[in-house]
Symmetry: C2
C-alpha cells in the first residue's frame, strides 16, 4: 500500500495517521446511535405499508386500531397540512425541496405507488402493540397494474403512475418520463465518420441498496410551545430540520435535530422517512415518539439507487483517438421523480477529451421505491457503459487499455462534459499509478481468469459548513462542526485545525453539534466534509491564531503584525524575545482579555473533482458462474490525503460496494412488484470472505482550490469497480458482459448462450 | 409588584417577560439532571465516611470488601497521584486551586477532620452492593478531641486540626486560624470620640446549608486512551474539569465535562466531591462509574456556609452621622482553610460613608465540613451585625432607619471599604424605593408585632465567558454558551442577543454546551452570568450583525459602512433601497458566502456592584417563640432588569433563604461533632406555607460598565433579610436579637430571660 507521494514534508499533521478521536467509543459500544436514544413516557411508532405496488386507496379506517388498548394515535396523509397540488420546487433558504411529492412518499394519499409504500402510522405504548395495531387498520385498495420495467414505463401506452408528472414538451400530457437531460458537443455524425472502429453496447443494471448497517430511526419530542427535538441517524441534521419544517409547516428554528452516530448512509440518509411521522405522532399524543425500521422496511421502503439502461456507442481512430461518443441512459426514479441521471450524464465521458458527443439521460417513474443517491450517484452506471466500450475499443485498436485512456485523457484546461474547463486534475497521474503498479505489471496466469481495468470520475461538492475552535487553558483545543462523522471526518477536520495551531491531532478534540449548537452546515455527502468542513476548521483555527498573535503582541507590547505563528509558537519578528508556545500563551489568556474562540463559515468554490481507477483480476467458475476476485488495486487522486488511512478506507469500502454491485446485489421483484429478497440473507452483499485485501494507491495532485490541496475522496472509489469487474469477467470468458449483477445464474446463462 | 422604572422604552426585548426556553422541559420532567445519565456496563460508587469528627486513621483494610461478589474496586487517598505536602496555590491557567487540601477533603489521608469525612470509595455492580461493601471495609481510628466552637478553636491551647496551617506571624507555629484579613481607614479612636451614641453588640450565626434540592452526582467514563467524559450537576463545568485535571494529574483537554441541568447550587456546586472519585474508580475498573449522594451525605459532607461570630461597634453623632465603626468577624472554615470571611470584610460597611473604621476577619478551622460559598457568601453574616447596630443607632438618634441610612449612604465617588471609589451605584435609589413603598408607608398595628429594615451590598463578579450566535435560514438564531442555567440565564442571555439582532426572545434558541463544545466559561456564580455571559451573547450577536451588514452590502453593491442595522433590518444609508429583514437576508446567506456565526469571548472589567434592601413585618408568639413573617418587601438595584420576572424570582428566592437562615436553619451538632439533624425533615427550611408572597421592587440605576446597564442580581437578595428579620423581631419583643436562628427555642429563651 503506497503512502502519500507528495507534499507531506511540508506538514506536521496533515498526511499522518493518528487514531480517530471517536474510535474507542465505537469499538466498546458506547457511541450512541439513533436507536439508543429514548425519553420518559415515550411511545413507539410503527408504519402500515402497502401490500400492492400500484393501487388506488379507496378508504382507510383506523377505528378498530384506535380502540385497541395501548394505542395512542394513528396518522395518515390527511394529517399533513394541505400542500399545493402542483409540482413545486420550494426554496427553503437552504436547499431546493419538493414538499409535495415528499409527503406523498411519507404517507400515501390517494394511491400507493410501490409495495411497502407507507399508508398509515400508529403510536402505541410498546412497539409490539403498535405492530399489532397495524393489523386492525382497514384499508380498501383498488389494484392497478404496476409498471416494473424501465423501458416499458417510457412507452406512451404505459399506465401512468403520477398524473402530476407532465411531458416536458406537452404540459397537458402525463408521462412516466419525469425529466430529460442532454449534453452535446461538436458534430456526432462527423465524429463517427472519422472513426476507424465503432463499438456499441446496451448495458443494464438493477436497483441496488446502499446496505448501511443501521436502519433508519427517529425519536421526536414535540413540546406544547411548538418547539421540537428530533434525534435521528442522518447525514444531514440541518437537512432533516429543513424537511420537517417544510413538510409540517413549522419554522426551521423551532426544530432542533440532534444527529446520532450514524451506522452508514452512503447518500441515502439525507431523506426523512420517519422524522416527520414521529414528530406528527408526538404532536398528536403529547408524548415523545420513537420509530425504528426493520431491515425489510429499509430494503422495501427507503431509497435504493436506480436500476438503469445505458446505451453507449463510441468511435476511435486506428491509433486510439476517440472521435465520437453517444450515450443514452434511462434511470429508474422509483415512485417519484428524482433519480441521479442528470449528474450521471456529466460523469461517464468526463475522463476523455472527445470532440463530438451527445449524452441523453431520462428519469423514469416505475412502481418501485423512490430512489436515493448512492455514493457518486449515477456515475457507476454511466462508467459501466463507457468504460466497457473503452475497454473494447482499446482491444480493437490493439492498444493497452491504460495507454488508450492516457491518449485521450483530460487534463488541466480540458473542457468538462458540461462545458467549463477543468482546473488542475489528476486523471493522468491516476492512470499512470495503475499502469506503473506492481499489480498491472504482474502477469495473470491460469484458465478462466481475466483482468479488467476501468476509471471513474466524480464531481465532488463544496456546500456550506461552520466550524468553531476553542483554545483550552492547557494549550489544547476543541473543534465543533455540524458534520456527522461517517468516514473519519472528526479526525480529518481536527487534523486541519491541528496543523494550523501547531498541535498534535490528539490535542484537538472534535465534536459534532446539533442544529441549535452550531451554525448551518450542509449534509455529510458529496465527498465534501474533509474538503469543506475541513476548510472551515482550517479557517476557524486561523481565526484563533490571529487572536493568539494579538495576545502575544499585547504581552510583548509590540504590534500584532510583528508576530508570526510558527510550529505552535508565537514568534516575534523583533529581536530578543523568546518564542511563546501555545501552551504558555493559553495560560495567559485570562489576563490578556479572556478565552479565545475562532470561527469560520465557508461556502467554498474551489471544489476539486477527482478520478479513480480500478484494476481487478477475476477467476470464473464456468460450471457455476461464480466469480472470485483474485486481486484488486485502486488508485485515486486525493489531492492531498489528510489522513491516508481513511482515504484508503474509503477506497477499500467503495471498491467493496462496487464489487458487490457488480457481482451479486440486486432487487428481485416478482410480477406484482414485491421485492422477494428483502433481508440481508437474501440480498447478497459481499463479506470479507468474498474479497481480497484491496490495495489502495493514494495519488496526490493538489486541488488548487484548497489550502492543503484536498479533494473529496469518499464517492469516486465506487465508480470504476463495476466496469473493471465486468471487463475482467469479459476477458475471462471471452464474451462482453453488459448486465449487472454478474451473479452465478446470470453469468452461467451468458456462458451457456455464448457456447451455443 | 413594581416593574422596571427606567429605560425600558429604549429596548424591544430587554425588560420584557418571555417564557423561558427551558421551561416546558423542566415542568414536564424531561430535563436531564445529573442522576438521569447512565452508560452501558456502568458501575455504582458509594463512599465510606468517618464516624468521628476528629481522629487519626491507623489503617484501612479493604480486602473483605474486595472479595465480595459484585465489588469491582475500592479506592482510598493512596490512589491519588502524590502531591506536595506544602500548602501550595497552583495556577491552573484558569483559577487558583489548592489541590493538596482538596484531595485531603475528597478522601482523608492520615486524619479524618469531620464526621462524614470520606475515607474510601467502592465501585460495585449495583448501588446496594456498593453500600453493603462499605460495611466490609475495616478502618482503625485513634480518636482525637473535636474542635467545634469557633472561639475555642482560635485559642492557642486548642487541639490543632491541620498541622500544615501555620500562623501568619510565625511559620513554625501551627494554628487553627488559617487567615486574618484587615481593612481600615482614618482614626478609629478619634471617630468614636466624635460620636454622641455608640452601640456595640456581638452577633452569632450557625452553620447553614444551601439546601439545593438536587444532591451531588457524577458519572465518569474513563477511556483507555486517557480521555474522560464526566456528567455531573455543577455550576462550573470548566471548574470541575480543572479540578479533576489538577487532582488526577491529567491534561484539562483530555477531560470533557457535560453539565447536566442543575437542581440548585447557590455557590456550593463549584466544588468536585464525586467527580474525581468516580473518575478514579472508572479508570481502575474500566467501566463507567456513577455516584449519587444521599441527602444525609449532602448535609454532612458537602460545603455548608460558615457559622460566625461578629462583633460590631459603631458610633454616630446626635444628628445621625456615622463617625466610626469597628467590626470583628470570625468565620468557621470547617476542616480546611477557606471561608468567605475575606469578602465579608468588604461588604458589611459598604453601604456607608464612614471616615474611621477597622474591619478584622478570621478564617478558623473547626471539626465540621469544609464550608463553601452560599449566595453572596459572608455578606449576610456581616450585614446581620452592621445592620442591627445601624438600626439601634438610628433608634438612639430618633431618626427613621431609612433616613439614617440615606444620610450616610455611599454614592458615585464614595470610597469602597477596600479603597477604590464606587462608580455609579444605586444604594440611595434602593433606600428611597423602600422608604417610598406602600409597605413602608403602611402602619403595623397589633401586639407582638415588629417591623424591621436592613440593607445589603454585594460586589458581583465578571470573569470569563464565551458565546456563539448562529443565524438560521429562517432568520432565527441560536446561542451557545457555557453557562449552566440556574436562574433563567438561558432566557436572559438569549434576550441580550435577541435585542441586538432585532428578534423576539423566542427566536433565539439558547443551549448550554459541554467543555468540548464551547470556549472557556467561568462558573455560574458571583451573579455574573446575566452580566458577563449576557455581554458575550450581546457581543456575539453584534459580530453576527456586522457580518449581516456585509452581506446586505454585497447584495446592494455598496460599502458595509453604508449599512445600518435597525430593528432587525439591514437599512441602507443610501437612498432608494428598501430595508431587508433578517428573515429575508437569512435566505440569501448561502449565495453571499455561506452561513454566519458570531462569536465573542469576554473578560469584562465593568462589573456593577449592587445593593438591596428588605422591609419585613413579623408577629411573635411570646408563648412559643414562633415568628410569623407577615409581610416582606425587597428592593434591589438591577442596573437594568433583562427579564424582570427572573430578577423578581431571585429577590424572592434570596429573601426566602435569608428568612430561613434568620428563623430556623442551623446545623445542630452533638458534643462529638455529629450533625443531629441531617435530613430535610429535621433541617428546617421554609416552605411556601411559611412565607408570604414577597414583594419585589426592581430599581434600575444602569451600570455604566455594561451596554444594557446590567448588574448581577442573584446574590444580594439574601444579604438584608436576616438582619431585617432580626430588627423586626427585636422591635416586636423589645430586646435586641443577636443570635441566629431566631428559632422558637432560642427566641423563647431570649424572651424569658428578658422578662426576668
Amino acid at each position: 500500500m503506497a503512502g502519500p507521494v507528495a507534499h507531506s514534508e511540508q506538514y506536521k499533521v496533515i498526511g499522518t495517521r493518528p487514531i480517530r478521536h471517536d474510535g474507542i467509543d465505537k469499538v466498546v459500544g458506547r457511541a450512541k446511535y439513533g436507536a439508543d436514544y429514548s425519553a420518559p413516557a415515550m411511545l413507539h411508532g410503527k408504519i402500515l405499508r402497502s401490500p400492492h405496488a400500484h393501487a388506488r386507496i379507496k378508504s382507510i379506517n383506523a377505528e378498530r386500531a384506535l380502540r385497541m388498548p395501548g394505542v395512542r394515535a394513528v396518522i395518515t396523509h390527511r394529517d399533513f397540512a394541505p400542500l399545493t397540488g402542483e409540482v413545486e420546487l420550494q426554496y427553503g433558504g437552504e436547499t431546493p425541496f419538493d414538499a409535495y411529492f415528499y409527503t406523498l412518499n411519507l404517507l400515501a394519499k390517494d394511491k400507493v405507488l410501490y409495495h411497502g409504500h407507507a399508508v398509515a402510522a400508529v403510536a402505541a405504548v410498546s412497539p409490539h402493540l403498535a405492530e399489532e395495531a397495524l393489523g386492525l387498520i382497514e384499508v380498501q385498495y383498488e389494484e392497478l397494474p404496476p409498471v416494473l420495467d424501465l423501458i416499458d414505463a417510457m412507452k406512451p401506452e404505459a399506465p401512468i403512475l403520477l398524473s402530476e408528472v407532465r411531458a416536458q414538451d406537452d404540459p397537458n400530457r402525463s408521462t412516466n418520463v419525469a425529466s430529460h437531460f442532454q449534453f452535446r458537443r461538436g458534430d456526432l455524425e462527423r465524429g463517427f465518420r472519422a472513426a476507424d472502429y465503432i463499438v456499441e453496447h446496451v448495458f443494464g443494471t438493477t436497483m441496488v441498496h446502499q446496505g448501511y448497517i443501521e436502519p433508519h430511526n427517529a425519536l421526536a419530542i414535540y413540546q406544547p410551545d411548538g418547539h421540537v427535538t428530533v434525534y435521528c441517524s442522518t447525514q444531514g441534521p440541518f437537512e432533516i430540520r429543513m424537511m420537517c419544517s417544510k413538510i409540517l409547516g413549522m419554522d426551521a428554528g423551532s426544530i432542533k435535530v440532534v444527529p446520532a452516530e450514524i451506522g452508514g448512509g452512503f447518500g441515502a440518509k439525507n431523506y426523512a422517512y420517519l422524522e416527520p411521522l414521529a414528530l406528527l405522532l408526538s404532536k398528536k399524543t403529547g408524548h415523545p415518539v420513537k420509530m425504528v425500521m426493520t431491515r425489510t422496511e429499509v430494503l422495501r421502503a427507503t431509497g435504493p439507487t436506480s436500476g438503469s439502461k445505458i446505451k453507449v456507442k463510441m468511435g476511435a481512430t486506428r491509433t486510439g483517438t476517440i472521435t465520437a461518443a453517444e450515450v443514452w441512459m434511462a434511470f429508474e426514479a422509483g415512485a417519484f421523480p428524482g433519480s441521479q441521471v442528470g449528474v450521471a450524464c456529466i460523469t461517464g465521458l468526463a475522463p476523455y477529451t472527445i470532440p463530438n458527443f451527445q449524452v441523453d439521460g431520462y428519469d423514469v417513474l416505475v412502481s418501485k421505491p423512490k430512489v436515493q443517491p448512492y455514493r457518486a450517484p449515477g456515475a457507476g452506471n454511466a462508467a459501466l457503459g463507457v468504460e466497457s466500450v473503452i475497454d473494447e475499443l482499446a482491444q480493437r485498436c490493439g492498444i493497452d487499455p491504460m495507454d488508450f485512456r492516457l491518449k485521450n485523457a483530460v487534463k488541466e484546461g480540458s473542457p468538462t462534459v458540461a462545458g467549463p474547463a477543468f482546473k488542475r486534475i489528476g486523471y493522468i497521474e491516476v492512470c499512470e499509478a495503475i499502469r506503473d503498479s506492481p499489480h498491472y505489471k504482474s502477469s495473470l496466469n491460469g484458465r478462466n481468469r481475466g483482468r479488467g481495468v476501468a476509471t471513474g470520475f466524480w464531481i465532488n461538492t463544496g456546500m456550506e459548513s461552520t466550524a468553531t475552535v476553542n483554545i483550552h487553558s492547557d494549550g489544547t483545543a476543541s473543534l465543533v462542526t455540524g458534520s456527522v462523522d461517517i468516514g473519519g471526518t472528526r479526525a480529518a477536520t481536527a487534523m486541519c485545525a491541528a496543523e494550523v495551531l501547531g498541535l498534535r491531532a490528539e490535542d484537538v478534540r472534535p465534536s459534532v453539534a446539533d442544529t441549535d449548537s452550531n451554525g448551518f452546515t450542509d449534509i455529510t455527502g458529496g465527498s465534501r466534509v474533509a474538503f469543506a468542513t475541513g476548510l472551515a476548521a482550517y479557517q476557524a483555527a486561523q481565526d484563533a491564531v490571529r487572536q493568539l498573535k494579538e495576545r502575544a503582541a499585547k504581552l510583548w507590547e509590540i504590534s500584532p503584525n510583528d508576530v508570526d505563528w510558527i510550529d505552535g509558537k508565537a514568534v516575534s519578528k523583533k529581536n530578543g524575545v523568546a518564542p511563546m508556545s501555545l501552551k504558555d500563551l493559553a495560560k495567559k489568556l485570562s489576563r490578556t482579555g479572556g478565552p479565545i474562540t475562532g470561527r469560520a463559515n465557508v461556502h467554498p468554490t474551489g471544489v476539486g473533482p477527482t478520478f479513480a481507477a480500478c484494476l481487478v483480476d477475476v477467476e470464473v467458475d464456468p460450471e457455476t458462474g461464480k466469480v472470485d476476485i483474485l486481486r484488486c488495486t485502486m488508485a485515486l487522486d486525493a489531492g492531498k490525503a489528510i489522513h491516508p488511512s481513511y482515504v484508503e478506507g474509503q477506497m477499500q469500502g467503495g471498491a467493496s460496494q462496487g464489487i458487490g454491485w457488480a457481482l451479486n446485489e440486486e432487487y428481485v421483484f416478482d410480477k406484482r412488484g414485491v421485492m422477494l429478497n428483502a433481508s440481508f440473507l437474501d440480498y447478497r452483499m459481499p463479506t470479507c470472505l468474498d474479497l481480497p485485501l484491496i490495495d489502495a494507491i493514494v495519488v496526490e495532485v493538489p486541488n488548487p482550490g484548497h489550502p492543503y490541496g484536498v479533494r473529496g475522496v469518499a464517492e469516486v472509489p465506487i465508480v470504476p469497480p463495476p466496469a473493471a469487474v465486468a471487463n475482467a469477467v469479459s476477458h475471462a470468458i471471452g464474451v462482453r458482459v453488459t448486465q449487472l449483477p454478474i451473479s452465478p445464474s446470470n453469468l452461467f446463462k451468458l456462458i451457456r448462450s455464448a457456447r451455443q
